[in-house]
């Protein structure tokens, strides 16, 4: 993200205008997740330019759009301001659903700030560094992003190697809590994991190194290798 221009105001303006190339737009979105001033600048530009939307003629959407929307919200619970909304039955179903990946690719990454929230997980410098952690770098290793279907998708931004007898496990630590909630084991191959749980804004996400199959106790047993805080980006 270091190759972005420093001018936050101009970046925000062009991000909102939509003229940035997809790669730069993606970088702006990622930076906005950790930069409240950039988020405010984006919101201010959305407000300034919004009256221009009157320049496009209104058009009646097809009837099928509302039907599609109601079908979608049937499977996606609204996110409560303070808590976890997805019921367990939906969670188990969604966890296994290939539709997650379809939705994920449909949403794309390029305009992550257009999604409600995402987090960036960074290696915490004070924690043990394992072989899989590229030391001395501040670049995010993982990214998590809300999907239109209400799940959280976590994926590696670069290849992460794990010993054959180990697994990486994802956890959510809500603000003020001391015991993390297990969200699932990250797959050894593939692009990431989709968690149907819906952590609130400010929740810390942790990735720990565990025995194969994940921690048997429901609490992290191994070292926490990556951590990051969930920011709402709207």
């Amino acid at each position: 993200m270091s190759d972005l221009p420093d001018d936050r105001e101009l970046l925000a303006a062009e991000y909102v205008l939509g003229t940035l190339d997809p790669a730069t737009a993606r970088q702006v979105a990622m930076r906005a997740a950790a930069d409240p001033a950039l988020r405010r600048a984006i919101a201010a530009w959305e407000e300034r330019l919004h009256p221009l939307s009157a320049m496009a003629d209104e058009a009646l959407p097809p009837d099928a759009l509302w039907q599609r929307l109601t079908a979608s919200i049937d499977t996606a619970a609204p996110v409560a301001a303070g808590g976890i909304a997805a019921p367990a039955s939906v969670a188990v179903r969604a966890w296994r659903s290939l539709a997650l990946w379809r939705c994920a690719s449909a949403a794309g990454l390029a305009l992550a700030a257009g999604l409600a929230a995402f987090i960036v997980l960074r290696p915490p410098p004070a924690l043990p560094v394992a072989a899989l952690l590229p030391s001395g770098t501040a670049a995010p290793a993982y990214m998590a992003q809300w999907q239109p279907d209400g799940t959280l998708r976590v994926f590696a931004l670069r290849a992460v190697a794990v010993a054959a007898d180990k697994d990486l496990e994802l956890w959510a630590l809500p603000q003020g809590a001391s015991i993390p909630i297990p969200l699932g084991v990250l797959p050894a191959r593939g692009r990431g994991v989709a968690s149907p749980h819906v952590p609130a804004n400010g929740t810390q996400l942790l990735i720990s190194l565990e025995q194969k199959g994940g921690s048997p106790t429901g609490r992290p047993q191994g070292p926490v290798l990556y951590a990051g805080t969930l920011h709402v980006v709207d």
Binding site: E9, L10, A13, E14, V16, L17, G18, T19, D21, P22, A43, A44, E46, E47, R48, L49, H50, P51, L52, S53, A54, M55, A56, D57, E58, A59, L60, P61, P62, A64, L65, W66, R68, L69, T70, S72, I73, A76, A77, P78, V79, A80, A81, A106, A107, G108, A110, L111, A113, G114, L115, A116, A117, W146, P148, D149, G150, N201, V232, D234
Partner: protein, 195 residues
């Protein structure tokens, strides 16, 4: 330069704050899972949002996808919307535009054989639609204070979702000129709106 006495042409423009208060109240109810409120919000905003997406994508399927994904997110995240962020309508506009633009950037524009609409700023009085709201009137005044090239690229980029390269092609200007117009135009616009 277009000078119009807005109040003569549009007696009593709608107050965007009261319109947005309605949307804001509906959003709060959506956050509590109220589908009737969601339907009302859809009825109020879907034509505007779909029209916006259609102008950018020029393809009904992509436009519908953009509005669907945006409104699904609105339903899911309604309880988290922070009114201090700005107006609900501007938030909705952003959600839909980002998706529509993203969809277009990820597939080559299929414009062969399709007549492009007139550039948004070419017709005299094209920006008069902005006069229908108080915030639009300020933007109208400030856009008209820009140099023509600056005004044109900003309006075309916003309304049609064009990239730097597409703007350069449409206006038959070098890429560097277009980028410079955008940068200076945006800076001047902000200064004017804040003055």
């Amino acid at each position: 330069m277009v000078h119009l006495a807005a109040t003569e042409r549009f007696p009593g423009p709608p107050d965007p704050r009261s319109e947005d208060a309605t949307l804001s109240a509906l959003l709060t109810r959506c956050g509590a899972g109220d589908r009737t409120a969601f339907r009302r919000l859809y009825d109020l905003e879907s034509k505007r949002l779909y029209g916006l997406a259609l102008r950018i994508t020029r393809q009904p399927t992509l436009a519908a996808d953009a509005v669907h994904d945006a409104l699904l997110q609105v339903w899911q995240r309604a309880a988290l919307f922070d009114p201090a962020r700005g107006s609900v309508a501007a938030w909705l506009t952003g959600l839909v535009r980002y998706r529509a633009i993203d969809a277009m950037r990820r597939r080559a524009r299929e414009v062969t054989g399709v007549d492009l609409p007139e550039a948004a700023d070419e017709a005299p009085g094209a920006l008069d639609r902005l006069l229908a709201s108080a915030t639009g009137q300020a933007l109208h005044r400030c856009l008209n204070g820009l140099e023509q090239g600056q005004r044109q690229v900003i309006v075309m980029a916003f309304v049609e979702g064009l990239s730097h390269a597409e703007l350069a092609e449409r206006l038959e200007r070098p890429l560097g000129t277009v980028k410079s117009w955008i940068r200076r135009g945006l800076q001047a616009l902000k200064a004017c709106l804040e003055s």
